[in-house]
Symmetry: C2
Subunit: 390 residues, 2 copies
């Protein structure tokens, strides 16, 4: 039996033929009854048709749905009125397959019409394949340039009842802060009303999916949805426990996401301390994480700390350069805005060979902190993205 | 005789030994008399010591200086109190060499102390080498990863008097909008008061140096300074003529700069039309220009227009996706937010092989326009930047 079972939910992932090869490209989640649902979506103004439609479905149903239908290989974005019709048709087919309203999501190449005959056959096949242990196949069916399916699970006790959360995520480029910038689906058998679930999701996304960056581009299709299938009201204390577990789960998925980012060889945790405000701390952490010059230094394993300070200065935050301190992988490098006498470039270069390490920046201006996940900008990223549609 | 002579100015470029090889690394400009001066500097909060000092010199002298002293190979940034002392010493040596106040600028690696003995010997050698035809050697002395010196000249008639403008610029990474993000020096024998010169420079920078991007990182050392050596007041009409010539000259230098950007093989002019406001037009143009996914598509010659629309959507501008039109190199690709029936990917791919072409975006929302220069994100960029200090 799969480790990624969640009572009250069945899952499927099938090959519908939207992708050229034999890869899975259509995923379905079906709840046994109506589930509470909450989601965050891309802030890109050129949002894909399924994003606009899923927003409308959540509003119309007041956050009560039966499932999710997803295709990969085609984003159904920038597809005009035909794309809107196709997203509606896909949602209607999903509704039939799940026995109630279904959210809809798409990911893949932008600007090509969906092959709706294949989507239709795929949804029929997925409906027939729905099974309690189908979650990893679902996770595989939402992949694009991802190297592997990315799933995680948590068990928590609410009151005296054990509940589960299982989650799947996909990347792997167009990962940027300010939104989920990915497709991510979490289901749980916890009981929580839609409004409470919305609060939990909003809080859990901020330090996790809104604090990662591969390349700083936010996609047209980002969707992070959580479905809770349990019945009955939740106590405030249970909501806190559930929120903590959801944040923890999303944190694990966000780590998996960035580690599987396009051309990523190093995952670097940017830790900012000593900021005047939380906003300042986040702006500085994000600016370091998206700086091409920091990212190429990470790629080259080059202890070029000046680029980190240069990125700090570009964050648009009022600061005193002479107070900045920096340590890389625990090795002190900068104090009072300049290199520490006798700092050890070889020790830092050795740290920067690791697949994961930390850059800790202290602004010396206050008590606020923030964390951001960053990665390298490598030749592989250029190779993957210079030749994606052709 | 050089084509880059400007009456009233002498120039030098020498090898001081700040760079390891035999490259020129110290440049000097000296005016025969006091010149009006105006400059724009980096907005990076971690500004280098020479930037802070040159700002102070311009304030103290009310925009009247005798010259400029520049070194390459070392940015004198993030160098603490020693860096401040070194910049002051360099300015004092420059003042002696020029016979009056000198602006000071540095470019190169961040965070290493300047070898002041070499700077001192270099300034002495440059002083001895000052000559009317030394401008191209000066341009060579300010290079870092630039492949060649970049100079341009203009001749205009003010009243009945012929005047010259000659300019030099260097890049080649850390080129971003929102500032000059480069070292650029222009001298002219036109007569214009400091306050009027400041207005001319501010206006000329906006559509030129503030509308180019190589990688979106703004450096710690950016300086663009203009010195006008002529004597006497300028008529308003002459100021307009001079401003137009300065804008034109900076436009040519900005083109040279981006064409010589790190790993750049394609210079793409982003033309935005139909925006509601100038601000909207500029935000959209810049967002396209800095999108890593657009830049890798340019690198791969991949007519992946969806990434351009995705970048438009990320500009933070209120817009109707269904009104967007896009043409690449004059070939229509998108209308009403989606691909035009029968558009010709092969024709667009052929355009994208060219060293220079245009992407024209119409937002269909108003009459405002903006232009931005963009380039590819290539393997060569990663190679150059993954291994800069080591």
């Amino acid at each position: 039996m799969s480790n990624f079972v969640c009572p009250g939910f069945r899952f499927a992932g099938v090959h519908a033929g939207i992708k050229a090869d034999h890869a899975l490209d259509l995923g379905l989640i079906a709840a046994d009854g109506t589930a509470s649902a909450a989601a965050v979506f891309t802030r890109n103004r050129v949002a894909a048709a399924p994003v606009t439609l899923s927003r409308a479905i959540l509003a119309r149903t007041r956050g009560r749905v039966r499932g999710v239908v997803v295709n990969s290989g085609n984003a159904n974005a920038c597809t005009g009125p035909q794309g809107v019709d196709d997203a509606r048709r896909m949602a209607a087919l999903g509704r039939d397959a799940c026995g109630g309203h279904a959210l809809v999501a798409s990911t893949g190449v932008i600007g090509r019409p969906l092959a709706m005959d294949r989507v239709e056959r795929g949804i029929a096949a997925a409906r027939a394949a729905l099974a309690p242990d189908g979650f990893v196949r679902f996770a595989e069916a939402i992949m694009t340039t991802d190297k592997r399916p990315k799933v995680a699970a948590r068990d928590v006790t609410l009151g005296r009842r054990a509940v589960r959360l299982v989650g799947a995520t996909k990347g792997a480029g167009m990962i940027a802060p300010d939104m989920a910038t990915t497709l991510t689906f979490v289901v749980t058998d916890a009981a929580v009303a839609p409004a409470a679930l919305r609060s939990l999701v909003a809080a859990a996304v901020e330090p996790t999916y809104n604090a990662i960056a591969v390349d700083g581009d936010t996609s047209t299709n980002d969707t992070l949805a959580v479905l809770a299938g349990g019945v009955g009201p939740a106590a405030p204390r249970d909501l806190r426990t559930l929120g903590a577990a959801l944040t923890d789960l999303l944190d694990e998925l966000a780590h998996l996401l960035i580690a599987d980012g396009e051309g990523v060889h190093h995952v670097v945790t940017i830790e900012v301390r000593g900021a005047r405000t939380l906003r300042d701390a986040r702006l500085v952490a994000r600016r370091i994480a998206v700086s091409p010059l920091v990212k190429t230094a990470i790629s080259g394993g080059d202890p070029n700390w000046g680029r980190v300070l240069c990125a700090v200065g570009n964050a648009g935050v009022d600061l005193e350069p002479d107070r900045i301190a920096l340590a890389i992988g625990g090795v002190p490098v900068v104090a009072r805005g300049t290199a520490i006498d006798g700092w050890d470039p070889a020790a830092v270069a050795a740290v920067m060979k690791r697949p994961a390490y930390t850059m800790a920046i202290d602004l010396g201006a206050g008590r606020a902190t923030a964390r951001h996940l960053a990665c390298d900008l490598s030749h592989d990223y250029v190779t993957i993205n210079a030749d994606y549609t052709t």
